[in-house]
């Protein structure tokens, strides 16, 4: 019996040692596994961060290229030769960190209200969709991609209608030199077309601070409205604030025109005036109050 007992005790101790080693090994393996997973997570976060830097650089580089230099491509690449980025068509290109980058330039279509549409509409010559995408393989060989997109507009020299300057915005008005000649005739209000396209004056409204009536309007010595025509209203007394639908008056780029005659019925000395000009595109300029001499 003692021998059997001893044998059993020896067996139990060996078993305990093996169990202890097994538990320790399992514990260590779990710890190592957890550490490896955590390490891979950190690596992946760094890879993503680096990819975002590269993606953003691609988009920013496209924004530095002139609008005219943005030729449509789905396989674009970028090269920097001081002082300019240039767009190529041999993408995707391999970056120093081993990832690849491709940039895309695409047309954008808009509907009749200039809203961007994904189908239909007409191609807007003043807008491009720019995309930068970076792809890389992680340590496990899995593929990842980050993509960022933006729009470029040809705001500096638009050729389409959606970004064309409003006519009122490209005309400067000078009212400081305005005078009443003979006390009843407004002169020396100047308009200058500072834009690159012709503007058309459609309607004019004057306000003034007495009860006088307005009879005639000449621009550059051409009668554009009077109570007997041309223009409307016709045959009525025109008081302050009445809109005059004049004969459309066109102004070429750089042209300066003058109100050479605004005929009132009564003396106007000391009155305060404003002028509102409505252009053919519906845009309106309204002056601050002014006091002709």
């Amino acid at each position: 019996m003692p021998n059997k007992k001893n044998h059993l005790e020896r067996g139990s101790l060996l078993l305990e040692a093996l169990i202890a080693i097994g538990v320790a090994a399992a514990f260590m393996s779990a710890l190592v596994g957890f550490s490896i997973v955590a390490s891979r997570g950190s690596d992946r976060a760094q890879e993503i961060q680096q990819a975002l830097w590269n993606t953003n650089e691609g988009l920013e580089a496209l924004k530095t290229i002139s609008f005219a230099g943005l030729t449509n491509t789905l396989t674009g690449s970028l090269a920097f030769t001081a002082p300019a980025w240039t767009l190529g068509t041999n993408g995707p290109q391999t970056l120093p960190d081993g990832s690849t980058r491709i940039v895309k330039i695409e047309s954008v279509s808009r509907d009749g209200t200039c809203t961007i549409v994904s189908s239909g509409g007409t191609v807007d010559p003043d807008t491009k969709k720019i995309t930068s995408a970076v792809s890389w393989l992680d340590t496990a060989g899995r593929s990842h991609t980050t993509t960022t997109t933006s729009l470029r507009t040809n705001w500096l020299a638009p050729t389409g209608s959606c970004f064309a300057a409003r006519q009122a915005g490209q005309v400067s008005f000078a009212v400081n030199a305005a005078q009443y000649y003979g006390g009843k005739q407004l002169r020396q209000l100047y308009f200058t077309n500072t834009g690159g396209s012709t503007v058309v004056i459609d309607k004019i409204t004057f306000t003034w601070s007495n009860g006088s009536e307005f009879d005639q309007l000449f621009i550059d010595n051409v009668k554009v409205w009077s109570t007997s025509g041309p223009g409307t209203p016709v045959g009525v007394d025109v008081h302050s604030g009445r809109e005059l639908d004049i004969v459309n008056f066109s102004m070429a780029p750089a042209q300066t025109s003058e109100i050479t005659k605004g005929q009132f019925e009564s003396p106007m000395a000391g009155t305060t005036m404003t002028i509102s000009v409505t252009f053919a595109d519906g845009s309106v300029f309204t002056s601050a109050p002014f006091n002709p001499l």
Binding site: L13, L14, V32, W53, N56, A61, S66, A84
Partner: protein, 183 residues
């Protein structure tokens, strides 16, 4: 007696096995710690870089003009000067700053921004050495349309340990708004 002898043998065997496993395990843990320390430092530098470029992007978006004639371009010790939306001169440079350490003092370069006559503020903390701050103008034809920035950093006191041996490089381009001119 037999029982005690057998138990001792088993214990010795047990210790022996652990002596084989333990160094490998400890070595692995040390390497893991070093890797994490390096990542931690790199992460810190990346976050600083992200904040620097966010500040720069925001400031440049509203900039009236880049002072090309007084900035120091194409130089690892670059200086960027521009006028902000309020017409104030903004200067971003990297002066050398002495850092007091228990062993030996060290010099680091910190990125600094000064707006108008206001107090200059550092954009990077004293433990990060900006080893390169290089700016190049980017043009479309003759028009200045962006700035290309190379920004390299390393941790202060690189001989002190793994954490200190980390470095980070960010090369990127910042486009300028259409209203931003140059002088």
């Amino acid at each position: 007696m037999n029982t005690k002898g057998t138990t001792l043998l088993e214990t010795v065997l047990y210790i022996g096995i652990f002596m084989i496993i333990l160094p490998t395990y400890v070595l692995f843990l040390v390497q893991l710690w070093q890797s994490h320390a390096s990542l931690d430092a790199r992460s810190r530098m990346e976050q600083t870089a992200a904040m620097v470029f966010l500040e720069l992007q925001n400031s440049l978006t509203e900039a009236d003009a880049i002072n090309v004639s007084t900035s120091a371009f194409a130089n690892d010790d670059g200086v960027l000067k521009f006028l902000d939306g309020a017409g104030q001169l903004v200067t971003i440079d990297r002066p050398a700053v002495l850092i007091i350490l228990p062993t030996a003092n060290q010099t680091v370069h910190r990125l600094r921004m000064q707006r108008g006559t206001g107090t200059a503020e550092y954009l990077t903390d004293p433990e990060i050495d900006v080893t390169q701050w290089r700016i190049e103008p980017v043009r479309a034809g003759t028009t200045l349309t962006g700035l290309r920035v190379s920004y390299d950093t390393a941790m202060l006191n690189p001989l002190a340990g793994v954490y200190r041996r980390s470095a980070f490089t960010a090369d990127t381009t910042l486009s300028l708004s259409g209203h931003t001119t140059e002088n």
